[in-house]
């Protein structure tokens, strides 16, 4: 099933506008609220029995997509289309964070980011070789996690005091027990095989106050994918993500000791709820030195991640600069205090 959102004003294909949060018509500028978009303007076409081939309603061309794609553009006429059967049933997302960074803003934010790169080569810093920017909704699973932790530890308190010419070191040992209720809400893990996990983790955090119930029109004009891994497959990844958080929390509950050694640490975490959610990501493909560099930008906050090229000269310059200036500073202090330079 292919969906077009037709403008009630002029009949052109509407796309989601990240500035207004509405559907917007590129030819007449008309805007429509997503919640109240008139049903008769949603043009659906069913393709019986075939899963891979869709036809554009506008021009009749075959829409070429990968199996995971759920929203794209017609490669022939450019009209935004949403592939609805890949977004229904088990594949229906529960939530979505719509794009709030528009393409122009994304380009500007990316250029600003390249200028701030202190170790990147000069040519890279102009940020003017963006080959392609793609706005994409990346599938994530959000987990509500509930659990408990049972902790046994030995804490020590050390006190030293002097009496006569003897120094006494007194060490008190304590048995420490903690029972902790744990609850974490909406911990994300990206469910797309294509996306680099490390890159996606660095894009966090997203602002959940703008988390919306999913509606298909949000996808019009962007690319979107469906998940490759289900919530069961990804749970271990989310677990490995929150264990350091849990450890950090546990250590805050045990205070007042000079050292703590854990004798037993039992953490039991289960998922309470999962939400299939689409997060907005701008993918930036950038040419530099005959190589393509890929960056990702949080489509909500504008945070950029990805490995920029590094200039060895600049690294050396920063290193010598910092080393020299701190050396001179320390020498100056030593001279001021000691009265001798060498």
């Amino acid at each position: 099933m292919v969906i077009h959102y037709k403008c009630p004003n002029c009949g052109a294909d509407m796309a989601f506008d990240s500035d207004s949060g509405h559907l917007s018509c590129p030819s007449c500028g008309h805007e429509e609220n997503i919640e109240t978009f008139p049903e008769q303007n949603i043009e659906r076409k069913f393709d019986e029995g075939e899963a891979k081939e869709y036809h554009c309603e506008n021009c009749g061309a075959i829409i070429l997509t990968e199996a995971e794609t759920t929203a794209t553009h017609c490669s022939f006429c450019g009209a935004p289309v949403v592939l609805a059967d890949r977004l229904t049933g088990d594949l229906a997302p529960a939530k979505v964070i719509p794009f709030t960074v528009s393409k122009d803003e994304a380009v500007a934010a990316f250029k600003k980011w390249t200028r701030g790169g202190r170790l990147t080569p000069r040519g890279f810093m102009s940020g003017d070789r963006i080959k392609k920017m793609t706005g994409m909704y990346v599938p994530f699973w959000l987990y509500d996690i509930e659990g408990e932790a049972h902790i046994q530890a030995i804490g020590t308190q050390v006190r030293t005091y002097q009496s006569g010419d003897t120094v006494y070191t007194e060490t008190n040992f304590y048995d420490v027990f903690r029972e902790i209720d744990l609850s974490y809400l909406k911990v994300p893990a990206d469910a797309s095989e294509k996306m680099d996990d490390v890159l996606m983790d660095k894009l966090e955090p997203y602002d959940y106050s703008e988390l919306k119930d999913f509606r298909m029109p949000y996808l019009a004009g962007f690319l979107a994918e469906k998940y490759d891994f289900d919530d069961e497959q990804l749970f271990s990844r989310v677990e490995s993500k929150i264990v350091p958080y849990i450890d950090a929390y546990i250590s805050t509950t045990i205070s007042g000791y000079s050292s703590v050694s854990y004798t037993n640490k039992q953490i039991d975490a289960q998922k309470k709820r999962v939400y299939y959610t689409l997060f907005p990501v701008w993918m930036v493909y950038y040419d530099f030195d005959n190589k393509e560099h890929t960056f990702a930008m949080n489509g909500q906050t504008g945070k950029v991640v990805g490995k920029p090229p590094i200039s060895a000269g600049k690294v050396a310059l920063w290193f010598t600069g910092i080393a020299t200036s701190s050396f001179v500073a320390m020498k100056a202090i030593a001279f001021a205090v000691g009265g001798v330079l060498w």
Binding site: T120, E170, N172, S183, Y184, V187, K202, A248, G321, S326
Partner: protein, 259 residues
């Protein structure tokens, strides 16, 4: 820095001064700095040390004196060297001096600073110099010990009074190491963060309403006590630390050791 400049400005003046009075004082003092009554030095060593003491003494504005004896005649080594210095100062009028005394009979050594050297070579610094010369004293290299005393004391006297000249914070290798380490850490973290930083914290996804300690206990279990004696003076036995007053009423910084 200003000190440094004024020191620099003083150099030509010093040379000029040396020209005028240098010849005079050298002739008046010839053989006056080394009083090797116990005969621990050869004639050649004595001459060399005399020259060295003069050169460094002129730089620091003090006399580097070397006194050896077979016996202090029942006196303490401090008293003996005090009397010697009183006699010398009374006759020459030179009050600023660093005096290394060796009593080869009692196998004791005493280093003292008089006049300006009482401040520039205070008792803490004396102790540091003694640390350095004790190995030479033990091996019988008395010329080496005096040479070391002159060179090290001069070096220490360059430092502002009260500062520990052996402090690690004044060492160039330490400055270099810290500078390189700092630059390494800063540039390393810049490199590490070039691809974007992880900005989620343990608090990002926590549900504060339902994450809590349900029960807790901290029970005292046992205690251990270890004792450590504070070590007394350094080996070789130190004495007379902190200096004192000569019979003639001259105060000095100083310290002594047996060897």
């Amino acid at each position: 820095m200003r000190d440094f400049l004024s020191k620099l400005a003083r150099v030509p003046m010093l040379i000029l001064l040396l020209f005028f009075i240098g010849g005079l004082s050298v002739s008046a003092q010839a053989g006056d700095l080394i009083h090797d009554e116990a005969g621990l030095l050869s004639a050649g060593e004595a001459q060399e040390l005399e020259a060295l003491a003069e050169r460094y003494g002129a730089e620091q504005g003090v006399d580097f004196l070397f006194l050896t004896t077979d016996s202090t005649g029942g006196q303490s080594i401090e008293g003996y060297m005090g009397d010697f210095f009183d006699r010398r100062a009374d006759s020459t009028g030179r009050e600023d001096a660093v005096l290394l005394t060796i009593d080869i009979g009692g196998r004791e050594v005493y280093l003292a600073g008089f006049g300006t050297a009482e401040r520039t070579l205070d008792s803490e610094r004396v102790d540091l110099v003694l640390d350095r010369i004790i190995p030479e004293m033990r091996s019988g290299d008395y010329a080496g010990a005096f040479e070391e005393t002159i060179v090290t004391s001069s070096e220490y006297m360059e430092y502002r009074p009260g500062v520990n000249p052996e402090s690690i914070f004044l060492k160039t290798w330490f400055h270099l190491a810290v500078a390189l380490l700092l630059a390494g850490i800063v540039v390393g973290s810049m490199l590490y963060n070039a691809g974007g930083r992880v900005t989620t914290t343990p608090g990002t996804y926590v549900d504060r309403d339902h994450t809590r300690v349900r029960s807790h206990s901290d029970r005292f279990r046992n205690k251990t006590v270890t004792r450590r004696k504070i070590p007394k003076n350094k080996d070789g036995g130190g004495f007379g630390g902190g200096g004192g007053m000569t019979g003639g009423g001259r105060s000095f910084s100083g310290g002594g050791r047996s060897f």
